[in-house]
Amino acid sequence: MIAFLKRHEGLWLFVHAPAAIIAAIVALLIMLGAIFAPWIALVNPYDLSSFSLFDGLLPPIWEEGANTKYLLGTDDQGRDMISSILYGARLSLVIGISALSIAAVLGVGLGLAAGYYGGRFDAIVMRIADVQLALPAILTALLIDGIARGLLPAAVQQDLRVAVLTLAIALSLWVNFARTARASTFVQMKKEYVLAAIMMGQRPTRVMFVHILPNILGPLLVIMTVDLASAILLEATLSFLGIGLPADSPSLGTLIRIGMQFLLSGEWWILWIPTLFLVALVVSINILGDFLRDVFNPRLR
């Protein structure tokens, strides 16, 4: 066992980092809950016939007037909080992860190419990144939303809200990947194994993706976790501002937005339970990100 751990340093560190373990368990539980939501949730918030307004505004089980069927109470639509949260986390994670994937592919691709070719191509990519940076995420989301509105027929817009939001978040995250990939690529470009590959006459794409990419994955992985957290938060913020998802396809952010109406009304659980879940999820991901950062940068240990 020790020998195995010795060989896999990351794993060894992990076993000895209690915060990371707790974070991983929390994140894993939420993710499993999200994945298996259709099987474990009491009601399906998307299926309007599965719940009734009649059950609305029930408090969590430990409060007076609760219904034991709904452990954490219900919202103003009569939806079971736990079910909403599981489905919400599912949607948040789907959006977060797909946005992240798009951003990573786009950003890493451009960053690698910019770092590899340098010169004019690099300058152009970086100027585009500048433009992107000058447009904060919220504005980007609005722009994408606007395009979708203009270009897509109304009938499909609703169905594409998730896609639009995902794209908007992806666009506001790719710069991070591009910059990191570019900087790391610059470092790798000076390494002799890259020179060796270029001298052999290998295709630029092969040099970039087969040789350089595996060597810059470390910092990218760190960005990925941190940005997954940002993506989830960004989605929540956009939903809070009312430019995110509609209320009938509730992500964690939308649930919080809805819950915000009950901030002062006494039905605290509608706001604070989803918020707690969101924060727990994001904190866990961030802790894992921190942990990864330490693994990839041993000198900070």
Partner: protein, 565 residues
Amino acid sequence: MLAIKDLCIKFPSRFGDFTAIEDVDMTIKPGEIHGLVGESGAGKSTVGAAVIGLLAAPGYIAKGDLSLGDTDLRKLTPAQAHALRGDRISMIFQDPQTSLNPLMTIEDQLIETIQAHADVSDTEARARAVDLLEEIGIKNAAQRIKSYPHQFSGGMRQRVVIALAICTDPELIIADEPTTALDVAVQSQVLDLIRRLAKDRQIAFMLITHDIGGIAQIADRVTVMRQGRVMETGETRQVLGAPTHPYTRALLDAVPPLDRRIARFRVPDESSSATATATKGNQAETWLLAGEKHAPMGLSLDQITVQFQGARSALWRKPEVFRALDEVSLDVRPGTILGLVGESGSGKSTLAKTITGLIAPTSGTMTLGDETLPGGKARNRHHPSRQLIQMVFQDPYSSLNSRHKIGAILAEPLWFYGFVQDQKERQELAAAMLALVGMQPDAIDKYPHQFSGGQRQRIAVARALLARPRFLICDEPTSALDVSIQAEILNLLKDLQSKFGLSILFISHNLAVVRQMADDVVVLRNGIIEESGASEELFERPTVDYTKTLLSQTPVLPAQWQSAT
């Protein structure tokens, strides 16, 4: 004065404590230069760090005595230890480029250090600093003291570092590889300076270095370390002249002599590993020799000039053009080794990159065999020279892709150039080639980080050979390695060259190494060829002043201390 007794240093790790230094004894008297030599991992720097109280974080002194004069260094509080630093013990680091705070002027750093240990006014401190700089050999010090570190050249910067180390009149200076990052000429000046300071100011020096030649020149006493233990200690003349310990002996044997050419280095444990895998290596040998047209191929450069556009510094001024290579002509005869010698910045690496097509020459022609070699982008990815010319790089740690297995790294040329179609066959041949370069064939399933620098350099050589090259460029292939490893690699290269009749361009800043390897030599300086000719001829009778100076400044073991081979 400095007395180290039974020093034992441990680094706690997750799998128990690791003992870095064990039972080290050493004394250094005022005015004495005490050389601490050994290969990497010997624990030299750890001893130095322990003395000055700056042991890297988890490390601790497990036992032993450390005293400076009457002061017991181990009993000091952190504050006392810090007050002592600079005041009584100071330190010089290896790289003058990074040893100075880039954001502060030399003046600020000097005054700050002086005032940290003496209650003097700014003016007084400045006067002292200027005097010191003059003494150290910086002209026009009153003016230049206002400069920032980046405005000094490497040698000058190391002088400033020394000035900073001695400005508080310490009793002991720990010099950790003070000349390693410097060119030969500057090296000898810095060594001279150290010798002068020891003599004039009676400062004791602990000179940590792997450069036995340098030690031989200035150290009064020498301690040889290996793996945290002292192997041998004593007067320099005695230790280096008549070593009693076999390790010292082996170490000295591995140092390439400058004054003569030896056929092979004596490396004690080489033979055993080589024979064990020799039979397996035959397969690779056969394969290499079976390559069509394996006749050696020469390379000639004719009037190659490479210019770089400098950074544009002003809008209305044209950016300055920097000439990295100026009408360089040279000829690598088929089947021979051409040694290319030069200090840093002389254009050696630019030349290698030009030949490999990474840089386009501004003018001039290159010829490989009978064909003209297009330069830069004009040479497309499928040009035959991509295969015919291969390169062995300087840094074995970065020349292998750390995310690929050795097998993948070695099979790549076989696959890429279409030599072997079958995946299994490729792995087999790769393993055979490993055997040929003196490695265990099972290495193909491991990753580069599981190997030492010397082993990696062998792998790099194997990779180059698997391209079936006709022309090999070795760019400082041993400068990152310890001497004993260097000796092994040089032996390997010699063997391979004679066996396969390769044409090699051997680039190095180390004259002694070049003498051992090259048939012909070219001396490059600031992009211009100073001198060229047959190797032995040139080393015996250099005609150009620059070559002569280079030769005279290279620190060597006195001939009488070297063993006859």
